[in-house]
């Protein structure tokens, strides 16, 4: 078990000295390898707060988080016994807004910043930078450019490359595809899926796009008002009746499947997850 939440609650101190409960009584386990998790929920439901607990950026107000065997609770920071920095090498977290992390003169230096902080040599870091810029779909000519003269989507890719270059065991991405065009979004999702597939790494993605959830995720976590209301497979999630109450959309493929069955009486038995699979299933039903 890589990350384990035990009855975790977290309170924000509001400006009027009232405490605001951002997480309440979260229990969840995340394996070290082989998971592809999407985390969904409305804005303000505590998704970001939850993932910030996963690399010990925040410490719970109640309960404990175990991260690779290290126990994090409300006293961790005060006692100072647990070194938090190595945790961040193992659990890489990409923030939603690249503006919060880009600061170097060139893209190359910015990607190398993370690895060098964790004691990776200049030469190795440079290699990583050259490799990761291609992984996120940009070419090497970007390395010498300033990160501030890039478009929003390019900045986003550079910030993701900066975390990928740290070669974390678990990769967490906070809305990695917001602000990207559909083609770029699909390409980037492919990248994360490939990382998960080829290296068997656990990847956690916060998203609002139900199509992503339905197509890629092996497991879905749904947050609502600081409570984890669902933890299971996407198929199980979207066959539930009351998911509109959680302000969630139905994925296009599921919508199409229901429409086919209601309007044309075409009933597909299996549950295709991608567009191609759906075409195949439809053909199989129509042909004979």
């Amino acid at each position: 078990m890589a990350i384990k939440f035990e009855r975790v609650s977290y309170q924000y101190q509001g400006h009027d000295e009232k405490a605001y409960l951002a997480l309440s009584d979260i229990n969840v386990n995340i394996e070290k390898t082989g998971e592809f998790i999407t985390l969904i929920g409305e804005t303000g439901s505590g998704k970001t707060t939850l993932v910030q607990h996963m690399n010990a950026l925040l410490q719970p107000s109640e309960g404990r988080v175990h991260i690779f065997g290290l126990k994090i609770d409300r006293n961790t920071k005060k006692e100072g016994k647990v070194k938090l920095n190595p945790i961040r090498k193992k659990v890489g977290l990409v923030f939603q807004f690249p503006e919060y992390q880009l600061f170097e003169e060139t893209v190359e230096k910015d990607i190398m910043f993370g690895p060098k902080n964790f004691g990776i040599s200049q030469k190795k870091a440079l290699e990583l930078a050259k490799r990761m810029i291609k992984v996120v779909g940009l070419d090497e000519s970007y390395l010498s450019r300033s990160p501030f003269n890039l478009s929003g989507g390019e900045k986003k890719r550079v910030s993701i490359a900066g975390i990928l270059a740290m070669e974390p065991d678990i990769l967490i991405l906070d809305e990695p595809t917001s602000g990207l065009d559909p083609i770029g979004r699909n390409a980037l999702l492919k990248v994360f899926y490939d990382i998960h597939k080829t290296l068997n790494k656990t990847v956690i993605i916060i998203t609002h796009d139900m199509n992503t959830v339905y197509e890629y995720a092996k497991r879905v976590l749904v947050m609502r008002e600081g409570v984890l209301v669902f933890d299971g497979s996407p198929l199980a999630l979207f066959s539930r009746k009351n998911i509109e109450n959680w302000n969630l959309d139905i994925p296009d493929i599921v919508k199409l499947k229901t429409a086919l069955s209601e309007k044309f009486n075409i009933n597909i038995e299996d549950s295709p997850r991608s567009r191609e699979a759906l075409f195949k299933s439809i053909k199989a039903v129509i042909k004979p």
């Binding site: 690399n55 919060y100 910043f113």
Partner: protein, 321 residues
Amino acid sequence: MKNIVIGRYIPGNGFLYKLDPRTKILAMLILMIATFVINNITYMVVAIGLIIVILLFSRISIKRVYLGLRPLMFLLIFTFTFQIIFNQQGELLQAWPIYYSFLTLGLGAALVLTWGFTKKFVRFKLLYFLLLLVGLGAVFTNLDTYYVFAQGHLRIYSEGLSMSLFIMMRLIIVVTLSTMLTITTKPTDLNLGLEYVLAPLKIIRVNAEEIAMIISISLRYIPTLLDEANKIMMAQASRGVDFQEGKFKEKIMQIVSLLVPMFIISFKRSDELANAMEARSFVPGRARTRLHVLTWKRMDIFVLTISLSLLTLSIVLRVMA
């Protein structure tokens, strides 16, 4: 970072809340001038007493004001000690010899070091700091051994004592008055009030409205920028920046990694804010109508009269003395 009280408005319903912001700003200025006119310790104590009465009367919690004063405490103690030691006017009140010997210097250094290491664990930091000063004084004035290699004098003069007390009390009054203003006045009201109070500056071609707008926007953005700084620190911590530790060279890198995004984000934000203001037809310097029009009430005239009479009283008392 969330405990910053400067410029914070706290909702309430005491009589200060009901006053016109212009009255509050003017009265604050008048009373501040009055505290600088007063040069008699008795009147100063009376002034502080008056402030406390106003605080109680307007139902502002004394704790809040104390929190506003706290960052100033070290400055206060610092100026106080310096005035006492170096101001040598008036008559000599008390004199102690100071012995510089290995014993006293060593003990002094040991005291400072223990204070430095233990202050983390003491709740009343200020009291502890005072204790250190008293302890240092006791060590240097009382312990003499055979190895005294220099001798000085700690002399306290009447002027030094009264000046240090004056400076301290003036600072306390000035800060308390401004805290009272910001606690009881909404930023928008403060902005409006400032516009009116600064209006006469138009004669020398200074646009009061713009200045007031600049002040209120900066006040408004303090918490927002603190929030941004917090987020940037988290994003950089995710990339292995350990803001608690690090050698000098790493520290510089840490600060750069915080400051650059901070500047970029502030520029972007101000750009966006300017566009948003323009989209709502804000033109700097153009006359605007008001949603809330300020009106003088009987209470305002009363408060201003009292403040002015207090100022006159302090001038008269000073001239008489």
